[in-house]
Structure formats: structure tokens, C-alpha cells
């Protein structure tokens, strides 16, 4: 059991840190459907691993200007409120309803990612990024990258929803935020993933205490999952800065479709 959770955590952590999602999105279905744990226990475990992944990935990315601290802090206001509300309302939502909403949302995002595989939100390096934008050195192309943030209110709404989904399903909200920040708000994929990785920790920290105080955290399972995810995310982090952006997007879309299919089956079975 412990070895299984550590192994699943390692796989989830590797994929999660590659995509800035946190490991929860892969781990929660495994714990719930694979090991037969109660959905809320699985979600609580997911939240713990999300905090761990977030901290490790952000620490590793620090100092390379990939993380947009200002944009992150602004969106965190929305995302933590979403996470907090979720932790209180999760008791009143049926698993069937949640699974269905989640399946629909993930399918929509996967399609969005697939239609934008070749788009890069990169401006001329001489342009000013503005108060919320940023610039960083892209290891993939070896060039200085500049971007401006557009449609901030949309980013706030997406972050609130991401926080809510994160708090109810125990996944990192990155699954919603990264595509929206990338496709609609003008943030390059790498910066969107790094900023999201920072935000999901605080988001999960807004939901986790309620699960913890309700006794829905199973300490040994959570510990095994966190240790596995930490090992996996180290691996993913080292691979991540070298993987081409297009393949990252494609991998993300495939993962989203798989998760979506799982929740559709769960909703109708």
C-alpha cells in the first residue's frame, strides 16, 4: 500500500512538475479509483502533494525571472478565496456533479491547448513589459523573452474557478490557470507554468486546513504520497527546462483528455 502510493506519487509528481499542475490531478483518480480511498481522503492527500510540488518547483525556478511574483500575488487573492469556499461547500456537492463539471472543463481546455500548439506569446525584446508583464531568458530558444499581461479580469475569474476546483477535487488549479494565462492573458507557456506552480501551493493551503480539521487527512497515505511526489517532481523539474514547449502543450492536452475521460466514466457509471 505504502509502496504503491509512493510509486503513484512519483509518476504524478514527475508529470505534474513538467506541466506546472501539481501532482494531484493524476494522483487523486489513482487513490480514489485505484486504491478505493474515499473521495475526500483522496482529495486531501492530493492537496498535500500539491503544496509540496508547488514549493519545490517554485524554489527550483526562483531567480530565473520565470515566476511572475506580482501577477501571481494578484491572482492568488482570487484563487485562495475559491479554495476556501470550496473547502466549505464540498460537503454539499455530490461526487456525480463534481465529476461531470470537471470532465466538461478539462475537455474544453484540452481542445483550447490543441488549437494553440504553435502560438507563442513572445514580443520583441526591446518592448516594455508593463507593470504586470515580465521578461526572462528562454533556455529553449536561447533568447530574451518579453511579454505583457492582457485580459487580467479573465485571469482573475479563471483563478477563482481554479481555486474552487482545486479545493473540491484536491488537484492543483494549474489545470485551469495555465491554459487561460497562456492562451488568453498573453503569458508565455513557461512563465504561466512557473507562476501557476507558485500559486497552487497557496491555493491548496487555503483548502487543506478544513480537510485536516475534519479528520479527512490520512497521515501515512499523505506522507507516502508527498514523498513520492517530491521524488518525481525533482525528476520532472530537471527534464522540464529542456523539453520543447510544443511537446509540453501536446502532453498536457493528452493528459487532460485522459483525466476528462476518467471523470465522464465516473459520472455516468
Amino acid at each position: 500500500m505504502v509502496a504503491g502510493v509512493i510509486g503513484a506519487g512519483a509518476v504524478a509528481g514527475c508529470l505534474g512538475s513538467l506541466l506546472g499542475l501539481g501532482g494531484g490531478v493524476f494522483l487523486v483518480p489513482f487513490l480514489n479509483a485505484g486504491l478505493g480511498l474515499d473521495f475526500k481522503v483522496a482529495a486531501a492527500t492530493g492537496l498535500m502533494t500539491v503544496i509540496a510540488t508547488s514549493s519545490v518547483v517554485s524554489a527550483g525556478r526562483a531567480g530565473r525571472n520565470l515566476i511572475n511574483l506580482r501577477l501571481g500575488m494578484l491572482l492568488e487573492v482570487a484563487t485562495t478565496v475559491g479554495g476556501l469556499i470550496a473547502a466549505f461547500t464540498v460537503a454539499y456537492l455530490s461526487n456525480h456533479t463534481l465529476a461531470l463539471i470537471f470532465a466538461v472543463v478539462t475537455v474544453a481546455i484540452a481542445i483550447l491547448m490543441l488549437t494553440r500548439l504553435d502560438r507563442r506569446n513572445v514580443l520583441d525584446a526591446s518592448l516594455e513589459p508593463g507593470p504586470l508583464g515580465g521578461r526572462f531568458h528562454d533556455e529553449d530558444t536561447g533568447r530574451e523573452v518579453v511579454y505583457q499581461v492582457r485580459r487580467l479580469p479573465l485571469g482573475m475569474v479563471a483563478s477563482f474557478l481554479a481555486g474552487y476546483v482545486s479545493g473540491t477535487l484536491g488537484i492543483g488549479g494549474g489545470i485551469l490557470k495555465v491554459p487561460v494565462l497562456n492562451a488568453w492573458c498573453g503569458v508565455p507557456m513557461r512563465a504561466a507554468a512557473a507562476t501557476s506552480a507558485l500559486m497552487i501551493g497557496v491555493t491548496a493551503a487555503a483548502s487543506a486546513p478544513q480537510y485536516f480539521m475534519r479528520g479527512e487527512v490520512n497521515p501515512p497515505v499523505a506522507a507516502a504520497a508527498v514523498i513520492g511526489v517530491l521524488m518525481g517532481s525533482q525528476l520532472g523539474f530537471h527534464v522540464g527546462s529542456r523539453a520543447p514547449v510544443k511537446w509540453l502543450k501536446l502532453l498536457m492536452a493528452v493528459v487532460l483528455l485522459a483525466v476528462s475521460a476518467f471523470y465522464f466514466v465516473k459520472a455516468f457509471a
Binding site: 505504502v2 498535500m48 503544496i51 509540496a52 508547488s54 514549493s55 519545490v56 517554485s58 524554489a59 527550483g60 525556478r61 526562483a62 531567480g63 525571472n65 515566476i67 511574483l69 506580482r70 500575488m73 494578484l74 492568488e76 487573492v77 485562495t80 478565496v81 479554495g83 476556501l84 473547502a87 466549505f88 460537503a91 516594455e128 507593470p131 501551493g201 497557496v202 491548496a204 493551503a205 487555503a206 483548502s207 487543506a208 486546513p209 478544513q210 485536516f212 480539521m213 475534519r214 487527512v217 497521515p219 501515512p220 499523505a222 506522507a223 507516502a224 508527498v226 514523498i227 517530491l230
Partner: protein
């Protein structure tokens, strides 16, 4: 809000935040690993205590990050973003104090 000095300060903040997060996760995972090993071998209250301590450290690490960011923004006299960190802090504290 622009200029080289502020950009350097933000860069420093980013590195400090990185160190803080790394320290929190190391401490948490050390507790969790020791607790898990103990739980598998012997079980008992010492194991439970270590596991609980690890989970608590883990959950408080993002909160510590928010406090560190607040201090940095106050030093930068960036009142708007200092205010944003206070909002996030209030929500995170509410997560512990409110009862469901």
C-alpha cells in the same frame, strides 16, 4: 515601479522565497519520512506525532511565503502589492479559524 533597483529587489525576493520554500519542504519531508518509517515498523503515537508535524509544516510553508512577500513589498514601498499579500494572508488564516 520600474528601474534597475526594483528589478534587483524583486530578483532577491524571488531567491529568498525560493530558499524559504525549500527549507519548509525539507523540514516537512524529513518529519514525514521519519514518521512513515516509524509507522511501518512500530506504529504508535510517536509516529503519528511526526506525521502530523510534517503535514503541519507543509501546510504552513505557503503562509510563511506570503508573510515574506509582504515584508519585501513593504520594504519596496509597493503598497498595492503589500495590500494584496495581506488579503491572501487573511484568507489563509481564515482557512484555519473558520469552522465547517
Amino acid at each position: 515601479m520600474n528601474g534597475r533597483a526594483d528589478e534587483d529587489a524583486i530578483d532577491r525576493l524571488e531567491r529568498q522565497v525560493g530558499r524559504l520554500l525549500r527549507a519548509g519542504v525539507w523540514l516537512a519531508s524529513a518529519c514525514l519520512a521519519a514518521g512513515l518509517a516509524l509507522w511501518m515498523i512500530a506504529g504508535g503515537s510517536a509516529a503519528t506525532m511526526l506525521l502530523t508535524a510534517g503535514l503541519l509544516v507543509l501546510m504552513f510553508t505557503p503562509l510563511a511565503r506570503v508573510v515574506a512577500s509582504f515584508v519585501a513589498y513593504v520594504k519596496l514601498r509597493d503598497w498595492f502589492f503589500a495590500g494584496m499579500t495581506v488579503l491572501v494572508f487573511v484568507v489563509l488564516v481564515a482557512a484555519w479559524l473558520l469552522k465547517s
